[in-house]
Symmetry: C2
Subunit: 713 residues, 2 copies
C-alpha cells in the first residue's frame, strides 16, 4: 500500500447506500443516495477504565493533523477524558473485508458480494438475501491492561438520534426514518445518544437531544470481546420521479427494524462469506496492487447500484458516482463485463429499459469537409457556438434509432426519449453521443446474449437489432457504395454541432465521435456483434450485411496508419495524438470467446497487426505512459481514466501478449490511495490526481483480469 | 424599520415548511422540517433585453458586500451578462404580505393566516383550504425602457432540478419528491433548469444537469406584467418515528403536482386574503414596531407548525425552532393565547396527547434547607454534580402526575412518559421541569375550557384535573398544614438535583423552580385555574381546596417583599435579582376575562398591590430596562426573551395601567431586525443580539396586544 489513508465505499447491493470511511481526520459514515462521502465524526476504538480516555482509529475529525500524540478535547463536555490516536494502525484492504488493526484492537467491515439471482427465472423472492440493505462490521479488543476497557463505536450524525427498539437480539440506534445501527446484544453492551462520546463515557447516560450516538462494550482485563455491528438502510415509499419507483428491498425488509434484525441475524454468515471472498482473491491474484484495484473498484460499483421496483417489476440502475446520472449507457457498456459474470439479467433489464423508454430516431447531418471538432474546445454559449460551426454539407439524411446517454439524474427520470446530459447546440461536453450509445447498446446486447444464451430475448429483439444495423450503417453513409465502416455523420439532435464520445472531458484526441479511432475500435466490435447475433438467429442476410461493414472498417483501419507518426492518429483527420483506446473494441470478442476474430492468422490478421503495431508504438514514455509507469489514454492529455486503462491493459495482455508491468499496477493503485484519497474510486485522474468522476462505479473493468485465460461464454 | 435586511419565515400552516428569505447576500429558499434558513442562491428581479444583465433584489449570494454597483459574474457561464443590484430597495413588512419594491419592480410574498377549523366539530375535510402546503408570491415589472425585459425568478437548489408536468394552467419546476414551484402560465412564460440563471438567459435552453431552476416572463416595453408563483411542499409517507405519522395535508393534496395546482388555482384568493389581513392590522395597531413584531412572530409561529395524522386522527405539533423539539409544553402554554383565538381545538389536541402519552407520576425529595440551586451554574458531569449537591432532607414523598417537557425531537417521538430534553442528575439546563409543566398543563386546560366552553371535555378530564390538584399540592407540601402555596419540592426524577423552569438558560434568578417568584406567579394562576374548572364542573369541594392553595400563595407573596431591595427578590431565599416575570401569571385571568381576580379592591387586592409595587420598582434602568429602552427579564442577566417580555408588557398595561412606551417596541423590533437578522424570529436575545432560540415560534405572545380591552371569553 502506498497509503492506508483513503476513503472506501462499504455498501450493500442495490441499495444506493454506503458506509464510507477510511480517510484520516475527516470522519465518514452512512448515506443513502449520497454523491459524496459523509463527514460525520467517527470514533472507533476503546476507552480506558477510569480516565475514559478514548484510543481511536484516525478517522475522527482533526485526527489527520501532524501531532498524533494527544489530540482532541471535546468542547461540549468537561475535559475529563481525551481522544488519543491508536498507534501505528495497519489496514488490510481486501476484497469484501477492510480490516484495521492497532495493537490489541481491530475493526473490520464486511461487504461480501453475492450475484443477484435472475428474478424472471428464479422468482423475485430469490433476490432477498443478496439485497439485504445492511453492512456488517466488528470491533475486537484483547484487553491486556489491568483495568476494564470499553470498546467504543460512536458517530456524530449531526441530527438528533434515538435508541430504537424492535430489533430482536440487538440494541439499536437510529436517526430519521431510514438509517440506523444495530449491535448484537451481549453482556456489557451499552447503546446511547449523547452530545459526544466523551460525554457519554463519563456520564453513562443517554440524552436524546444529542446528535452523537454509539455503542460501548465492556472488555474485562485479560479478556477478548467483539462488538458486532450492522449498519442498516431502509428508505421506503416512492424515491424517484418521472418514473415512480421504490427500493426493491422494501419488499423483503419493509422497515428499518427489519433490516437491522436481519443484519444482526446474518452477521456471522456475511462475515464468513466476506472472509472467504478475501482469501479467494488472495489466491487468485498475486499482485497486491491489482488486488487493491479489484477490491476498491468493486466496492464503489456496488455503492452506486440501485435495484428499484417500478410498476411491480425490478428496474436496475447504476448511478454515475458524484454526477448521479441514472444508467449512463457509456458506463454500462464497460461495466457489462462485470455484470455478465455476476448477474447477466441486469444487462437484459437495462437493455429493455433503453429500448422501451430511452431510445429515439434521428436524422443526420453530413458535416462540411472542413468542419472542425473538439479542437474548438468546450463551448456552451450559443452566440459563440454560432460563430464556430460551419453549415453542413447535407442535412435531413436518414439516420435511425439510437439510445440516450442516460435515463435522468439524481432520482429524476428524464422524459421518455431524452437524457439529462445531452443538449443541442454545444461544442464538446454535453453534446449528443448518438453513435457511441448505439454502439454501446449493441455491444451490451451481444454480451448479454452470448453469455446468457437467452435466445427468446434475442428473438424478441430482432426487429430492434435490425433497426440498429440500419441506423449504424446510415451513420457511416446512407449510400452503401460510399461506406467505410466508420461513423461519419452527426445527429441532427446536435443542432449543427458534432457528436462526442464517453471521453467528453478529454481533448480532441478522444472527445469527438466522427473519425474517432476510439469509436472505430468499438464500432468494429459492434459490426461483429450484430453479425454474431444475426447468425445466431438464423438471419444470414443481415449477418452478411453487418459482416460487410466490419470488413470495410477493417480495411479503413489498415489504411489509418501514419508512417510519419509511426502509429494510428487519434482522429482520421486532424488530430495526431497517440491514444490507447484504439484497442478497446478488441475486448468484446475476447470476452465473448470469439477467438477467431483475434487470430493473427485469420481474416482479421492485417487489422490486428495494425493495432498491435500501434499499441507497441504508443506504449512509450512521452506518449501513453506517465513517468510513474501509469498508463496514459492520450499523449496530449493528462486526464487518464483507470476504468478504460484496465480494458486496454486486458487487451494488450490477452490479445497481443503485452503484459502490463507491475509498476503500472502500483502506479494506478497509488493514484487511488494518494491522488484520490478523499472520494473512494475515482475515474478521472489528472496525472494521478482525481479531479472528476469521483465516487465512481466504472472501475470494475479491472475484473477483466479475472477472466479465464481461455475465455469462453 | 431599523433595517430591511433580515430573514423571515414565509410559511403555509401545519406543513412545517417555509420559504425563508430577506437577508442580504445569503440567499434563502424553501425547506421542509428545516431548523435553519436555506441558503440557496436566490435571484429575484428582471433581465434587460440584449445584454441580459440581471437586476435583482439583494438576496443573491454575495450581494451583501459593500460595492453594490456591479457585482457578480458567474464562473459557470461566459461573462456576457451580469448581476446588478436593484437600487434603493424598499420593504413593506406587513402581516401576511412581505413586499419589496425597487423602481418599477416589485416582489411580494403572501402568507395569509386562516384559523384551522375544528375537525371534530366541522369534519376533517374542513381543514383542506387552511392546510394547503403552498406559499404564493408575485413579481411585477412595469417596463419603462425601450427594449423587452424579462422578469426573472431563479433559485440554486444545489441538486439537479426538473421541469415538472401535471400542473394545469401552470409551468412547474421541482426537485426531489417533495418541493417545487409553479408559475401561472401566461404568454411569454419560460420555465427552465440550468447551471445558473445567467447561463439560461443567454442560451434560452434548459439543461437537466443544472442545479439552478427558474422562470422568466417577457415584459414588452411600456407594459406591466406579473409573474405569479406558488412554492409547493408535499412530503408523503411516514415522516416521524416513535409514533408513525404522516402530514395531514396529504389527505387533501396527495402529490406535489396537486399542491402546485391548488397553489396556482387559489393564488388570487390567497393574495386578496393576505392583503386584507395586512390592511386590517394597519388599522388596528398604530405603532409600526408593534405591527412588525406581530407579523414577524406570527410568521415564525406558523413556520414551526405541523398538523400530522396518527392512526387516522389529527395530531397537532408545534416544533421548537432551531431545537426542533416536539410540542415543548412550556412554549405551548405561552402560545395558547394565540391558538385559543385562532383554533382552540389544537389546545385540546395537545392536552390529550400529553395526558395519554407524555404524563408520568413521580415521588418527591424535600431538599436540605441549605441546598443550593442554579447559582451553581450548569453542570452535566456526574462526578462534578456529586460534589455539588446535598442529600435531601426527606425522600420518597408522595408526588403525583406531571407532564414531560416535550414529546421528542426532530421527528422522533420519545418513548411514552419521557421527553427528549430532560435527564437525571444534572444541575441546571436539561434537568426536569416537573412542577412547571404540571402548572402549564393546568393553565392550558383552563384556557381551552374557558375559551371553548367544551364542558364535555372538562367532564372527561375531571379525574385527571383532580390528580393535577393533588400533585401540585404535594409539591407544595404533603401535609396540608405546612403548605404555603408554592412549589417547594423537587421531583425524584432529578436524581438528587433540582427542578428548573422554562428559563433554563438564564441565571439563578429565573432558572430554578423551587422558591421561584416566576413560578409562584404561574402557580397562583394554576390554583385559580383549577378552582374555576372545578366550580364549572360543580365540584365545590375540589374548588375550595384549590382556592385555599391560591390564598396561601397570595399570603406568601405578600410576605415576599424585601424592604431593603424595594421589590420581591427572584427567589424566596438566596437570589436578590429583580425580575419582570413576577407578573406573568396575571396574564391568565386577564385572558380568561376573570376581572374580579385582578380587582385591586377585591380579595386579591394586597397580592396585586404587592406585584404592582414590585413591577414599578424593577421597571427602571439598571434593573429591568436595557439602555435602549428594551425590557430586561432579569436584572442579573443580559439574556432577555421577547416572547416573555410581551406577556409582561401586556400585564403591565392591562392590569396595572403601566403602558409600555413606544421606545420599548422600537428596541424589541431592532433586536429582531438587526441583532437576529440571520434567523427570522429569535427568542433569546443577549442585550439585543440573538444567541439562542432561533427560528422560534413563541413570539406570538405579542398577539396579546390585540386582545379586546374588555376581554371576555
Amino acid at each position: 500500500m502506498h497509503s492506508i489513508d483513503f476513503h472506501a465505499h462499504h455498501s450493500p447491493q442495490g441499495a444506493y447506500a454506503t458506509f464510507t470511511c477510511g480517510r484520516f481526520g475527516v470522519g465518514g459514515g452512512p448515506t443513502i443516495e449520497g454523491t459524496q462521502p459523509a463527514s460525520m465524526d467517527l470514533i472507533v476504538g476503546y476507552a480506558d477504565g477510569g480516565t475514559e480516555d478514548v484510543h481511536a482509529l484516525p478517522f475522527f475529525r482533526g485526527a489527520g493533523i501532524a501531532d498524533f500524540s494527544d489530540f482532541a478535547m471535546d468542547a461540549a463536555t468537561p475535559p475529563r477524558n481525551r481522544r488519543l490516536l491508536l498507534k501505528d494502525p495497519e489496514r488490510n484492504y481486501q476484497r469484501s473485508v477492510d480490516t484495521w488493526t492497532a495493537g490489541d484492537f481491530s475493526f473490520a467491515i464486511y461487504t461480501p458480494v453475492t450475484p443477484l439471482p435472475d428474478p424472471d427465472r428464479l422468482g423475485e423472492a430469490a433476490l432477498a438475501p443478496a439485497l439485504l440493505p445492511a453492512v456488517s462490521a466488528r470491533l475486537t479488543l484483547t484487553n491486556s491492561s489491568t483495568v476494564a476497557r470499553r470498546l467504543v463505536f460512536a458517530i456524530t450524525v449531526g441530527r438528533p438520534c434515538r435508541l430504537a427498539d424492535g430489533v430482536p437480539g440487538a440494541k439499536a440506534l437510529a436517526w430519521g426514518t431510514d438509517m440506523g445501527i444495530a449491535a448484537r446484544d451481549v453482556p456489557g453492551l451499552e447503546a446511547w445518544v449523547a452530545f459526544s462520546e466523551l460525554e457519554y463515557l463519563t456520564s453513562n447516560r443517554s440524552h436524546l437531544l444529542g446528535k452523537t450516538c454509539g455503542f460501548a462494550l465492556e472488555v474485562p482485563p485479560g479478556e477478548t470481546r467483539s462488538l458486532e455491528l450492522s449498519f442498516g438502510f431502509c428508505r421506503s415509499g416512492v424515491v424517484t420521479t418521472g418514473l415512480e419507483c421504490r427500493y426493491f428491498y422494501t419488499r423483503f425488509y419493509p422497515t428499518l427494524a427489519s433490516v437491522l434484525a436481519a443484519g444482526i441475524e446474518q452477521h456471522a454468515r456475511l462475515r464468513a462469506l466476506a472472509e472467504a471472498q478475501a482469501s479467494e482473491l488472495e489466491q487468485r491474484i498475486a499482485d497486491e496492487h491489482q488486488r487493491f484495484l479489484l477490491a476498491h473498484a468493486e466496492r464503489s460499483y456496488w455503492g452506486n447500484t440501485q435495484l428499484l421496483e417500478h410498476a411491480g417489476r425490478p428496474l436496475w440502475v447504476v448511478l454515475e458516482g458524484e454526477y448521479a446520472m441514472i444508467n449512463t449507457l457509456d458506463l454500462s457498456v464497460d461495466m457489462a463485463f462485470y455484470e455478465a459474470r455476476h448477474n447477466p439479467w441486469t444487462l437484459r433489464n437495462l437493455l429493455d429499459q433503453f429500448a422501451q423508454r430511452h431510445s429515439y430516431v434521428d436524422r443526420l447531418n453530413r458535416p462540411a469537409s472542413s468542419a472542425r471538432g473538439l479542437e474548438l474546445g468546450h463551448v456552451r454559449d450559443p452566440e459563440l457556438v454560432k460563430d464556430l460551426i460551419l453549415p453542413p454539407e447535407a442535412s435531413q439524411l436518414p439516420g435511425g434509432i439510437s439510445f440516450t446517454h442516460d435515463m435522468g439524474v439524481a432520482g429524476q427520470f428524464s422524459p421518455a426519449g431524452t437524457s439529462s446530459y445531452e443538449i443541442a447546440g454545444v461544442v464538446g461536453c454535453f453534446s449528443f453521443m448518438t453513435a457511441e450509445q448505439l454502439v454501446n447498446w449493441i455491444l451490451i446486447a451481444a454480451t448479454y446474449v452470448l453469455v446468457s444464451a437467452d435466445e427468446a430475448w434475442l428473438g424478441r429483439k430482432l426487429p430492434l437489432l435490425q433497426d440498429c444495423l440500419a441506423s449504424l450503417q446510415n451513420r457511416d453513409h446512407p449510400q452503401p457504395a460510399r461506406r467505410n465502416g466508420l461513423v461519419s455523420h452527426d445527429s441532427m439532435r446536435c443542432a449543427g454541432t458534432f457528436e462526442i464520445t464517453t471521453y467528453d472531458s478529454l481533448d480532441s484526441s478522444l472527445g469527438q465521435a466522427r473519425n474517432s479511432l476510439y469509436l472505430a475500435s468499438k464500432t468494429w466490435a459492434a459490426w461483429h456483434a450484430l453479425r454474431l447475433l444475426f447468425e445466431r438467429a438464423g438471419q444470414a442476410e443481415l449477418a452478411r450485411s453487418a459482416s460487410n461493414s466490419a470488413s470495410l472498417l477493417e480495411r479503413t483501419l489498415v489504411d489509418w496508419y501514419d508512417p510519419e507518426l509511426g502509429y494510428l492518429p487519434a482522429l482520421r483527420e486532424g488530430c495526431p495524438s497517440a491514444i490507447l483506446s484504439a484497442v478497446e473494441g478488441l475486448c468484446f470478442p475476447l470476452f465473448w470467446g470469439q477467438r477467431e476474430l483475434l487470430d493473427p492468422a485469420g481474416a482479421q490478421g492485417p487489422f490486428l497487426a495494425q493495432l498491435e503495431r500501434h499499441l507497441r508504438a504508443v506504449l512509450a514514455p512521452g506518449r501513453c505512459l506517465f513517468p510513474d509507469g501509469g498508463w496514459k489514454l492520450s499523449s496530449t492529455s493528462d486526464n487518464s481514466w483507470p476504468s478504460k486503462i484496465f480494458i486496454c491493459q486486458h487487451v494488450a495482455e490477452r490479445v497481443f501478449g503485452l503484459r502490463p508491468d507491475s509498476k503500472s499496477h502500483a502506479a494506478h493503485a497509488s493514484w487511488q490511495q494518494l491522488g484520490c484519497a478523499d472520494w473512494a474510486m475515482t475515474d478521472q485522474c489528472f496525472a494521478g490526481v482525481g479531479k472528476g468522476s469521483k465516487y465512481y462505479p466504472r472501475g470494475v473493468t479491472s475484473w477483466l483480469w479475472l477472466e479465464a485465460r481461455d475465455s469462453a461464454t
